[in-house]
Amino acid sequence: MLFVLIGIIAGLIGGMGIGGGTILIPALVLFTHIPQKTAQSVNLITFLPVAIIALIIHTRESRVKYNIALFIIIFALFGALIGSRLAIHVSVYWLRKLFGIFLLIMGIYEFLIRDS
């Protein structure tokens, strides 16, 4: 039930343009027994069906600039291959600390900069 509740909150936040994952991952790590890496995997996998549906809707309203997306994807895929291998090899302890630093920067960014 706790997992469903965390999902509801992440879904609510995700709809507002703040990444749902930045809420989902810390919530899973801090309020349940889920370790950092598993929480990240849960976020990546749950993101897929939601993103597919959203992408179909956006494509119909022709908001997606696919030529630019394709250009960025070529570079981003290399990053993703390196990044996820790093995540596998870093210890859960340090990954949690690193994620905390990342979340701190994101939180400050959201609070101070986003509106301007």
């Binding site: 997992f3 469903v4 965390i6 879904g11 936040i13 995700g14 709809g15 507002m16 343009g17 990444g19 930045t22 809420i23 989902l24 991952i25 810390p26 801090l30 889920i34 890496k37 598993t38 929480a39 990240q40 995997s41 990546l44 996998i45 993101f47 897929l48 069906p49 939601v50 959203a54 908001r63 997606v64 997306a69 250009f71 960025i72 994807i73 070529i74 570079f75 981003a76 990053g79 993703a80 291959l81 390196i82 990044g83 996820s84 291998r85 790093l86 995540a87 596998i88 870093v90 994620f99 905390g100 630093i101 979340l103 701190l104 939180g107 400050i108 959201e110 609070f111 986003r114 509106d115």
Partner: protein
């Protein structure tokens, strides 16, 4: 998709892919003080960082790619969010496969979170406007900072 490296090079540094005029979409973007080649190099680097970030943290690629699309490419906010989704979806899929193949997954959690997530987005779309998004963002950014400190310490 790219049948040789020359074709890939052509795509990245020159004009067209399967007849799509790329140059046009880059020229149409605002911020014309930066030349197209520099814009592409910067966008490529930021795209690479988006992948790294999304891979290592399993989230948050949007925080880099959305500002890139707005400030460097010159898309409006709606287009930027939609296009960012098209970028993050395939890279998240690749990352998810790598996590999965290394035995990092939990289906019993995933299906519960998906059910919750669907409910949350329905509630969100019904209640849109009940609380001003400005204040919601402020409140949740405070939660993010608190959670971050709890994770670091």
């Amino acid at each position: 998709m790219f049948y040789n490296s020359l074709h890939l090079q052509n795509y990245i540094f020159n004009k067209s892919l399967f007849g799509i005029n790329l140059e046009k979409s880059w020229q149409n973007s605002k911020g014309d003080d930066m030349n197209i080649r520099n814009k592409k190099i910067l966008t490529g680097i930021l795209g690479f960082l988006t992948g790294i970030c999304n891979g290592i943290f399993g989230a948050g690629g949007g925080i880099i790619v959305v500002p890139t699309l707005i400030h460097i490419i010159g898309l409006n906010e709606h287009e930027a969010h939609a296009t960012a989704l098209a970028v993050i979806l395939p890279i998240s899929a690749v990352s998810a496969v790598i996590y999965y193949r290394n035995g990092i997954y939990a289906w019993d959690v995933i299906y519960k979170v998906i059910i919750g997530g669907i409910l949350g987005s329905i509630i969100g779309s019904k209640c849109l406007g009940a609380i001003p998004p400005y204040w919601l963002r402020k409140i949740f950014s405070i939660f993010m900072v608190l959670a971050a400190l709890r994770m670091i310490v």
